[in-house]
């Protein structure tokens, strides 16, 4: 399986990719991830690639990802060409305005971006930041998004493997928070399913 995770530097995309890859390894499969680490982390675009199964390179070819998890709506749109036609996109509705846009004359057209994502993918929009905040910290939005993906049935991983992967990859004091966030993500997508999943 090929998964793209995108967002803005500092949002925690790397943890999400680690959890998904570690989950696959726990199930006896091989996995690879490709990360953005370095200067781009200072509020730039960050993209993680997660591939499970027997591939040689960690980086997913354009148009070959089955799933896109985005922590920010514009970065979700930027990665749509990575997704195969009709692939599943799970998009956090948070908007982070680039400084260059704030300084410029043009404002962001969120509706246009939403339309582009919806037209070119099987899209689900979730306010993962609000859900994570309710669970205790906005930083848990990554496990909320993983919960949504699991809840929609688009991950080829069991709940047990994902919970174990969370346990192995977060500090013990944040484990309960992240499990709560994961469960909240699963619960949120039950609501989404009726309205937007097949919309």
């Amino acid at each position: 399986m090929n998964i793209i995770i995108s967002g803005v530097g500092g949002q925690g995309t790397i943890l999400a990719s680690k959890i998904l890859a570690a989950g696959a390894v726990l199930e006896g499969r091989n996995a690879r991830t490709g990360e953005t680490i370095g200067m781009s982390q200072r509020g730039g675009c960050v993209v993680s690639h997660v591939r499970t199964g027997n591939v040689h390179s960690a980086y997913i070819p354009a148009g070959k990802a089955e799933l896109l998890l985005s922590f920010e709506i514009f970065e979700g749109a930027r990665c749509i060409p990575q997704l195969k036609k009709g692939g599943q996109a799970i998009i956090n509705t948070t908007v982070i305005t680039p400084v260059s846009t704030t300084l410029g004359k043009n404002s962001l057209d969120v509706e246009k971006v939403k339309d582009y994502i919806s037209q070119n993918s099987h899209a689900v929009f979730v306010d993962a930041d609000s859900i994570a905040k309710k669970c205790g910290s906005v930083k848990a939005s990554n496990t909320v998004l993983i919960g949504v993906a699991y809840g929609l049935g688009v991950l080829d991983l069991s709940r047990e493997s994902l919970i174990q992967a969370i346990r192995d990859n977060v500090k013990p004091k944040f484990f309960d928070l992240n499990v709560k966030a994961f469960n909240a993500g699963v619960a949120a997508c039950e609501g989404v399913e009726n309205h937007e999943k097949h919309g």
Binding site: A31, R32, E35, T36, M39, H56, P81, K85, T97, V99
Partner: protein, 595 residues
Amino acid sequence: MKEILLGNMAIALGAVHAGVKVVSGYPGTPSTEVLESVVQYNRDGRIQVEWSTNEKAALEIAAGASYCGARSMVTMKQVGLNVASDPLMSLGVIGTKGGMVVVVADDPGPISSQTEQDTRHFGKFANIPVLDPSSPEEAYEMAKYAFELSEKLKLPVILRPTTKVCHSSGTVETGGSIYEYEPEGFVKDPRWVIFPPLSYRRHLEIEKQQNEISELFDSLPFNRIEGEGEYGIAAGGVTYAIVKDIVEAFGLKVTLLKSGAVFPPPNGLYEEFLNRVQRVLVLEELDPVIEEQLYQVMAIRNLQRPISGKMNGFVTPAGELKFDNTLKIIEKFLGVEMSDTAVTPPMELPMRAPVLCAGCPHRASFYAVKKAMHGKKAVFCGDIGCYTLGNGKPLEMTDTCLCMGAGITIAQGIKKAEPDTYAFAFIGDSTFFASGMTGLANAVYNQTDINVIILDNSTTAMTGHQPHPGTGRTMMGTMTQKIDIYSVAKALNVGFVERLNPFDQEKSIETVKKAAEYEGVSVLIFEAPCITLIRPQTTFRIQNCTGCRKCLREIGCPAMSVRDNRVEINDALCYGCGLCVKVCPTGCIQQEVQS
């Protein structure tokens, strides 16, 4: 047990399993996590690990340990090897005893570097073997093997991963055991003292040794020929992995040459490959190293095969080889179409360049100097670190950036050529210790009237918050005496030295003006911790904004944006630095009252 490991962690684990006893380095993307991962594997403290002040120091420390028979490793990024090239060149002549591995990470793109230089050339330049991994799994194997090879050859060995090996992860078997041995210790011997007659004798030996290593590399598993067909593709590094994915995905009938132990070149294997194919495509990032090696074998063996690569313009000379552009090159080479035309076209979206974080003290420092020098003829020389981002709008306070420590000395050159200019140099605390002090001594000695601004945020921020000599902490987890930058400047006889809090804008602006007018070298140390070291103490909010946008135009804080023509502050990003309050002309930004 199988685990997901980042390439850099895999290298660290390979070194730990090989029994490394001393590890030194200087942080630099994409190499940094190698040394940090060694620390994670070193809970019992059996390995001596340190961030050295710069790459030259780090390499010499690893060399000294090797002289004693201890296995040692030094880590750096490609431009770091430029700094360490002096000891490396001589060490290639003198040789080593305990296995010594020089990990140098290259950065095709470049993604986080000044240059796209290719460390494989350094192997050839210094007559040092180079291993070039194609995946984190192979990086683990190569790291382990590199120590054995170094000990066998009595030469240092370069392990040269690229960004997409360093920062990708693979599934690595992590249960290996640690190689146990007792280092012999330093044995006094003329072989450790480099003198011209010794260098001559060693040169003869080393050249002979190159042929032996080349033969050894012919049969290493890192170098191999796979598949068959008259079309041959030669690839190295992570590009091999991409080519392999393409060959398997499309069932291509090609002969694939993988070059992993790339210097000295496995000439016998290259000859066999050339004999098996009719035409050749060479795919490698950065410089055409494998390509030149193949041409050399053809010239010596009197073979003729058309080679498509960088040298005939078939392959792009710069930037990364990703799956999609590699596929297009292979299509052109084979004369078939394989690309998927169904890819969704991208939408035009605003750029998102990296910026100084909300609350970053560098923003306040830059702003104070900008205000102080408003209307004056001044040049602002920058350096390597987060503060290079001071070049962006709206601050625009970085006029030059060349390499580590260069800001201080470039400023001196500008002052000499243009004496009526106020020449400023900005440098971070870690960079100051790495390569700023000698430049500062030069300014004092040669009486060049420059103004040095040291941005002391108590960490090496850009590479992920490593300690340095000014922090009082070491990578062994111990506390140590802090080296005080103020005292260093004073000891170097700088006449005007002051410490400032950049968020005290009034005093900062006034002091910058004084420093600029002071005749002689001045040093201002702006002291305020990186936001990652502190918790936000408060946040601010805006009431009755008039929409003048002066705050945005002046400081460009990423926590501020505009909605309905009013500026608002994102409380999740605001660190409560309060710089915006000092900029707002109508006083509508207030501290959030904590409930």
